[in-house]
Symmetry: none
Subunit: 532 residues, 2 copies
């Protein structure tokens, strides 16, 4: 029989403490729905009574299956539960569960709360009882539990016992400062389970020593049955335990999967990568390519020596199957790589080629020569695919840029103000026609992009939804005369994303190459026919 481990998501509460992250009401509704549908057991939505946003969010229940949870403080010293406005706001919220935060470090009871140890225990008991009486499931987050336990184990334990005896379903052990180490977690949890059973205990870890995930798993091994964490590990300072990573390990590693069960079904596990990236979309930030399980590079191999073995049996270089979490294998072509990598890439692009075809050798030689000049094809899939198709025979010469000119001028305008203007003109032959386009922009690359895409004749419908989403510049060696590498990320209306690259001494020229590759790639993928 497997033990059930419950997942508690605090993305919308503790995660909202992340510097630089601010959720709107719409964001909160969307994230709650994503978590609910994924099979998370508890969705902590925020702190009703603390701000108008959380009041609005708790005006109705936002989950169907998951316990919708409101966070707040235990009753203040010196007032009764019924006269505490914080408790009133929690009880008024449309929540299934209430998660109280309570002091469990004697030092903090004195310094931060300014009350006695006994009054703090009393506040925990009465707050829990009030919520239980109103039919709520109750959790008590014991703040600074591990630091408190190290300073005064009797008192920290007394807080946990008080919460449990008063009727709390869960007593959650918080490593608030994030500095506790896995072996300490394991020892302290082990000692505590003699007083509060493990299936009433939870763990709330932070990543200040880079071990929030390890601390959470150590706690489960020692007996706790609830894990609190956030999507992609967002959170104050270094972040909270990353639930995405934990789900991968709990579901796929036999030492956990054989012993424990979580609410996420196998079918959902295959959407783990999608969940992680969709959440980054909500935050409007680039996903971490190196994230465990779900990063774009999590199953990528650059090494030539590994690539040939990988081709023989991919599983020997992968700790789990990428498909299990909805990710995919990538073999990167790079200057360290050989033919095996390239063949794997061609297969992925759907380009049929024979390993012994001399055109493949010429392609490999060109890739290596270009990488020596600064191209980095592992970061620019679309440019690599175009190069491969050119060698192996399949990229029409859609149009021909005969010349372009970009001008940036800083001058006084008619009002006597100093302004910087950027303009570009482009002369393109499309079929039998020559098109001459001009555009302004807020910088030279922006102007050039505008002019290039302004009028491509019969191709215009295919590139109408093309959008540049990122533009990166790297100077490959020192000085203004150095080589410049430009990497462009594009997307279309169907949310396809592709990366192209350009390298030149001249930043405008490098940008031009990457812009051209982006447009041509889109035409190839759209199956555009040659315009006469």
């Amino acid at each position: 029989m497997k033990s059930r481990v419950h997942l508690f998501d605090t993305t919308l509460r503790d995660g909202a403490q992340t510097s630089g992250i601010d959720f709107s009401l719409e964001d909160k509704c969307l994230v709650a729905r994503m978590l609910d549908e994924f099979g998370i057991d508890y969705v902590e939505g925020g702190y009703p009574g603390a701000n108008p946003l959380d009041d609005a969010f708790f005006a109705q229940k936002r989950t169907r299956r998951a316990a919708f949870t409101a966070f707040g403080m235990t009753k203040r010293p010196g007032v009764s539960v019924s006269n505490d406005p914080g408790i009133a706001a929690l009880l008024a919220a449309s929540a299934d569960a209430i998660c109280y935060v309570a002091k469990s470090w004697d030092y903090h009871v004195h310094v931060a709360l300014g009350t006695t140890l006994e009054e703090n225990l009393d506040g925990i008991r009465r707050s829990v009882e009030a919520a239980v009486a109103r039919g709520r499931e109750v959790l008590v987050d014991c703040e600074h539990f591990f630091d408190g336990y190290k300073a005064n184990p009797d008192y920290a334990r007394a807080c946990a016992v008080a919460a449990s005896e008063a009727g709390a379903r869960w007593v959650v052990l918080c490593d608030t400062n994030g500095g506790t180490l896995p072996h300490e977690i394991e020892r302290i949890v082990g000692e505590l389970t003699a007083h509060v059973p493990g299936d009433r205990l939870g763990i709330h870890a932070h990543d200040d020593t880079g071990q929030a995930v390890a601390n959470s798993l150590a706690a489960v091994r020692a007996g706790v049955r609830q894990i609190q964490g956030t999507l992609n590990g967002i959170g104050e300072r270094c972040g909270n335990a990353n639930l995405i990573t934990l789900i991968g390990t709990l579901k796929l590693k036999p030492d956990y999967a054989d012993r424990f069960e979580i609410g996420v079904p196998d079918a959902k596990l295959r959407e783990l990568t999608t969940l992680s990236r969709a959440f980054d979309e909500v935050l409007n930030r680039a996903p971490n390519r190196h994230a465990p399980y779900v990063g774009a590079s999590a199953f990528a191999t650059k090494a030539g020596i590994h690539a040939s073995a990988l081709m023989k049996d991919p599983r020997t270089y992968e700790h789990v199957e990428p498909e299990a979490v909805g990710n995919r294998r990538r073999v990167l072509v790079s200057d360290q790589a050989g033919k095996s990598n390239l063949m794997a890439e061609l297969a992925r692009f759907g380009i049929a080629a024979d390993r012994d075809d001399p055109r493949v050798d010429r392609l490999l030689a060109e890739v290596k020569e270009r990488e020596a000049r600064g191209f980095a094809y592992e970061a620019a899939d679309a440019s690599l695919e175009l190069l491969a198709r050119r060698h192996l025979g399949g990229v029409p010469n859609y149009f021909d840029v005969q010349s372009f000119r970009v001008m940036v001028e800083r001058r006084h305008n008619a009002l006597g103000e100093l302004v910087t203007v950027s303009e570009a003109t482009v002369k393109v032959r499309v079929g039998d026609h020559v098109v001459f386009s001009a555009a302004e922009g807020n910088g030279p690359v922006n102007a050039l992009d505008g002019a290039l895409r302004k009028d491509l004749g019969g191709y215009q419908p295919f590139i109408a939804d093309l959008e540049l989403v990122d533009f990166k510049v790297r100077i490959l060696n020192g000085g203004t005369g150095a080589t410049t590498r430009v990497l462009i990320e594009s997307k279309d209306g169907d949310e396809n994303r592709w990366f192209t690259i350009g390298v030149s001494e001249n930043i405008i020229d490098a940008s031009f190459q990457a812009l051209m590759d982006s447009i041509v790639y889109k035409l190839v993928k759209s199956g555009a026919a040659l315009v006469a």
Copy 2:
């Protein structure tokens, strides 16, 4: 008595496998020097014989104190050590130590190597002996050690014992796929130490379950005395163990600091944040704000429920003191810290100013406003000093750029070749004269720089030895319309170096600002008098 734990950095070898990272020879020399000076015991530089870059890097020893280490494979099956070109390249390298990678998973010996278990053991022994005979310290990285041990413990152990008995100083246990969990590491290392002593064992962990740091520490607790990792945890897939994080924990957490000693002195620990960020500069990427110990947000608190306790005693919300690692506390309620920093900077520039001077408040406000727009003055001392001198009254208006124009054109030249040319013209008023200069360049910034410095009249002698040594571009948010930050490093004939910055939607405009600051800074420092 504390046990010595040795740190082995593989940033330049395994870290070079990171997708998107390509080191130049200059990068490698710089990173090796940074590691050496920091107190890292082993600096693994690359794979001599595998590519021209690593051959060049190993043409000479690149460290003073640290063991400069070459990586390569054990001898191939079927050839003798003296006929193996890989071994010959390793022995020819200017390295103190040689780190061999050897198969230790029986399955891989068969499938990837295609040889017998005994021949693989023989290859390990002979390869080690050959390097020992040439006076090298030898390490053997047992690839897939933990997966191998789980499949066939006798054989994995036999590989470790063979390496050790043949004279390897270190047998390094590699979790090549990164999927091994801390409790497995602890158990397996514990069993192995009955056969190879812990002070001959190392650990090489990857972050595929987000536990590379925890795995490394679990191995140390079980007996190993060498940790392999990389700066900021770069590396293939999800990365290697993060040495920066590990150094923080090994030096500051009593459970480690009281039992173990590493080569990094306390004074260097206070440069941990600088080391981490300087390495990101080499990679030209934004530092991870949430990195343990060294992230800009690692000690930052959005003052919510913790506000009052934070004000009473900030340290109760910090697991270590930020100053110990050269980081700083950020409590987002206090402007005082900003002013203290600024006063310290003014003192460093030799600018006398009173803390209560309203001009200092205006300067602080402008710095904050500019930093919100993307200026990063901690990386551009000279621009900050100029801004401060302008507010506090001391920068002459040497000259006035009335207008400039930069043009980049791609066209066919007289020979019918497609060329891209860059030209710039600049109109400058110097005293009573207006100078109009033009220059060509291999890119627009190079042309603008040439035109700007071509003729500054009476100032020309002061800037004759000014040289641009580096130019970095960072796009601060996505799209070609995003804000661009340009950072320029300049030097003069006396080897003074200074950094200036420009920020604009327009890359040319941002470059212009940074170029101007560089020239004006040089004139200020040279004590140039105003030209009439």
